[in-house]
Amino acid sequence: MKFSHTQDQLDLRDAARDYLRGSCTSEALRTLVENNETSLGNWQELAELGLLGYLAAEEQGGLAMSVDGFVLLAEEAGYVALPEPLLEVAGIALPVLSALKTDATNTLVENICAGGQRLMVSHPLNPNLNQLDVADSVLLLQDDGAYLMSATECDLRPADSIDPLRNIQSIKAHPVEKHQLVGKDKVATLDELARQHGALITAAELLGLSAGMINMATEYAKERKQFGNPIGSYQAVKHHLSNAFVALEFARPVIYRAASAVSQNEATAALSVSHAKIAAIDVATLAAETAIQIHGGMGYTFEVDLHLWMKRVWAISGLWGDRNYHAQRVDQALFADSLATGPATTFS
């Protein structure tokens, strides 16, 4: 029993952190927004850092790391509000595709690791795809099977997100037989894999966004003076921030526990993931509302960066199952399926 990350996982997290905080800066994001752009154009660098192939097998050019370490990367991506679809491709689409292990999918996994190609999952819980390029592929999960299509074969329509750094498109696809990877009988496993990774990775990103917003608001409270003192010296302000900090401290291990359950394919993984998503939505909502309150009028503008983080929270909170969807899953386990609860049931 050891509830902590391995040194390898922490080292890679640190490397990713240094790179992301050094490159995905406030200035870089502001420039994108001003120019109506959404990409930092750093996909190749993400590949070189090994982030794209984090979850892929070594023989496919990956690092063969597990998803309980990947959530640390997702937190870092959230912390800087990274606009690239790193998590969608490397954290969600890749593990689903890897499960298939055919020659064609193996080649695609290798290309994804090398940064040569990108893949995103289209699913009823993830209807709009972010930064989908004409060169990208789409993994379509439907009731009647899983299909692999190129973006150009799909019917794409630009959608408009409140998050200026999300360039999303709604997608309609009419797959035919040659696109099919697996049929009706085998799609359920892939579908569950996608739901679990989707909700888990999104939860970890929300955690990082929350930490970012709490940090921004704390720094602002140290600088901004009113009545002759920094506003952060006033107790009402302190207590708002402490509440958000406590919520964050207690959400984090919930996400880590779920990540471990998914990586070990535990029987209760889906339940752990639903808990993680609920905890993440709750902390991110609290952190966002706290942060704007502490920024005062400034928080209601484009003058400070907060709005980018806050809008990302709104955008992704409902992806891969909103709070209600996940609450119903927990409800089902707890009240209908008579889940064992109480001391000594948590890890057994």
């Binding site: 140290k222 302190k238 402490s242 401290e249 207690f250 291990p253 109480g342 890890f347 057994s348």
Partner: protein, 389 residues
Amino acid sequence: MQLQYTTQQEAFRQEVRSWLDAHVPKQPLPSLDTAEGFELHRDWERTLKSGEWGMITWPEDYGGRGCDLIEWLIFEEEYYRADAPLRVSQNGIFLLGPTLMEFGSPEQKQRFLPPMAAGDEIWAQSWSEPNAGSDMAAIRSKATRITEDGQDYYVLNGQKTWSSRAVFADWAFGIFRTDPESSRHHGLSFILYPLDLEGITIRPIRQLDGDPGFAEIFYDDVKVPVENRLGDEGQGWGIAMATAGFERGLMLRSPARFQRTAQKLIDLYKRSESSLSPRVRESVMQAYLNAEAYCFNTYYTASRLIDGGKIGAEASCNKIFWSELDRRMHRTAMSIMGAYAELSEHDPNAIDAGSWLDGYMFSLAGPIYAGSNEIQRNIIAERCLGLPR
């Protein structure tokens, strides 16, 4: 990350489980805040000692088993699963014990720890004074050093209050002003003293439930040998802060306690499900999730401590989280019981023997004792977030 128990840990769990199955009293003991209940709880501590379960994380020399924190959490899970009695020795084993381990002389450790683990000496904590609650540095009770027949003593004068279990306990620890010229957190010393010394008067205070769970203590020229000082003279504040850290940190309120409450709440809910609104169901679910979250957080922290990490001001987060969780769970239970909620433990029709009402009252104290939650929020803001004082 390795979230499975080893075979050794599983075997340890089985050992605890079978011992508790054989020894835990079949009927709940009367409240430890009554004279009779206190002694029955002391007997239970002695029974625990007979199986070497008094304080398992301590070294064997001091009456422990040298267990690590994961084994401690396993023990606690089994303890609450078995509905074993509350620990009347908690001020000693959870608060003073670890403090002695860090600051005590070898003689003090040998003198005080074994009887503490055995339930032979039950401890009370005496920090608070009528004018020094949250602002503990405002303490005025004095300890004046004198020499008599070649022996050095402190003479205690003043008053303490809200001292839990002081009505029935054997010993107490507290901080006193040894430097009369000093103010605030300077010039205070940490002193251990028997509660039956001449010059000590104890006045019981009735708590919300009507029992004398804590007391005022008056000191009128009470003579204590200087050997009973823990740490150096004038260093009392720093040591007391370490004790307070243990109180808010990992030991005092382990997750199993709240997981047990959440489990019972689910059961209570299921018994009256048909007549309740969906809002109640939502609160019950949230209780379960938060109790689990507290458990994950504790294992996460324990793993960090085992790897040599330290727990600092984050202990304040813990204290806020468990105390507010406990209050919310009991509030939900009260709302489920409707017109039966008022029935006390003495009423035969009380649901679950009145334990929810009793628990609700005690849960209201959680955000107050061990440093109020407002004070914890100040600490978090200043020490974890670095906001200006």
